[in-house]
Symmetry: C2
Subunit: 280 residues, 2 copies
């Protein structure tokens, strides 16, 4: 039986852990110093509490990093410092250059590095979520991670390839949602929302609903998307493409960070939050 | 019978002219010094050649400006200089601030200004194309322009409102197309196109076809979109929203300007043109 250490049982991580567990692996997390909310989530997902991070690291064959993009390098550095010698799977929404940087940190610590990227919602239903992996040993990791509702897919191209798939995918989904919200904020701030919505009804019949859906489903998660948009911008720049789209998207999600805590805002609230500097 | 002077019978202008003519108006253009292609297009649209621009201006009750966004101010200045005293309809894809600037130029010359913006393809079939107008006298102009396959709609809010509707609309259609092409260029440049296309087939089933359609239908028109994206960026900035999305879109269309003349490129050609500085 393979023991997998899961470093951040957040919304996504805990469901990935539950899926992998249903495939027969033992899944640990480190409860020491974590909040009651996280503890409840980990326990509901059936994860085993190893106690401290060092205890988790020494007990694990494979470590899975699933955390907000901005924390990914620190998480890896912490594991490398503990001389982890198993396989480290980097599952976050980060630029391929960041993934390769993490690979260097991890290998220097003595472990094997597998790059990864998760596409889809937390895996609860079959067919919704894929864990892309690339690099040496990706096949073995894909076999471990294909469990329950989660499917793992090997991407050829070595470390960075799986992260690039994730970046390219999210550059459209989250980038276009941010653009759409900005468009609605413009129309609203300039007083032409009715005319635009009427035109959309004729020629872009799904856009109004898509915009309202983007506000509803992204408002409370927007704080996490800021770092992801910055990683995507870096990915575009490294490929010689304009990074401006996702600099714009990062700014839109930054203005929505206020909704991290508290009740979900209305569509009109979100549009107002996006144009704090209304023209005179 | 109202005489309408049409200043640029391009692809859009000539069909707008033909539509308005079918509503009973007389439509003039100024053939002096224009190319054989433009002459043929104007004549096929049934437009009457007034000869020179001064002759057109002095014979027209209403002047319709339909030209590439970057030329809109110059066209208006030329008409104002000729002391046009009728109604000038600004029909271009420009920022509301640019439209109001043109309004100032036109009114100083002695004419009435009506702001406008066209949404949809050149009006050939009923129901595809709407001419939004705003400002004093917009109702009368809407009645003139609702003819044949063209429908005109008055937007409340005065000069600039119709241009804002156009900017907001195109900020999504052309902005999201540019984003989608950039995403495909990224995946292609980084060697993960197959993995992305396979993922899209599962979770975003219309995106591959949409991307190929965007390349096909935009390649030869991209040179015109650059100025429009810059006008949209200015519109966003003036409303306190990030202008970065459309700075990025302007750069994408700038890299496609090479396709203005010559045969339509393949999808792969377009993606290669978008990443001239491939990573080493």
């Amino acid at each position: 039986m393979t023991t997998i250490g899961l470093l951040n049982p957040g919304e996504m991580g805990s469901m990935v852990g539950a899926a992998v567990r249903s495939g027969g692996s033992r899944v640990l997390w480190a409860g020491e110093g974590r909040s009651a909310v996280t503890r409840k989530r980990a326990s509901e997902a059936g994860l085993e509490d190893a106690g401290s991070v060092p205890a988790l690291v020494s007990a694990s064959d494979v470590i899975l990093s699933v955390c907000p993009p901005a924390a990914a390098v620190d998480v890896a550095a912490q594991v490398a410092k503990l001389r982890f010698a198993g396989t480290y799977v980097e599952g976050n929404a980060i630029a391929p250059a960041t993934a390769r940087e993490i690979g260097g940190i991890i290998e220097k610590g003595g472990a094997t590095f597998v790059d990864g990227g998760i596409i889809g919602p937390p895996p609860v239903k079959q067919g919704t979520t894929r864990f892309y992996v690339s690099g040496t040993g990706a096949e073995r990791i894909a076999a471990l991670l294909t469990a329950g509702p989660l499917q793992a897919i090997v991407v050829p191209g070595g470390p960075g390839a799986a992260s690039t798939v994730k970046m390219a995918y999210a550059s459209w989904t989250k980038g276009s949602s941010a653009l759409l919200l900005a468009v609605c904020a413009l129309a609203s701030a300039e007083g032409v929302e009715d005319a635009l919505v009427r035109e959309w009804k004729i020629s872009q019949p799904d856009l109004s609903a898509r915009a309202e859906g983007a506000a509803r489903s992204n408002a409370k998660k927007a704080w996490r998307f800021v770092g992801e948009m910055e990683e995507i911008a870096a990915t575009f720049a490294a490929a010689g493409l304009p990074d401006a789209f996702h600099q714009g998207a990062a700014e839109i999600y930054r203005r929505m960070e206020v909704y991290k805590e508290g009740p979900a805002p209305s569509f009109a609230d979100v549009l107002r939050a996006l144009t704090p500097r209304r023209p005179a």
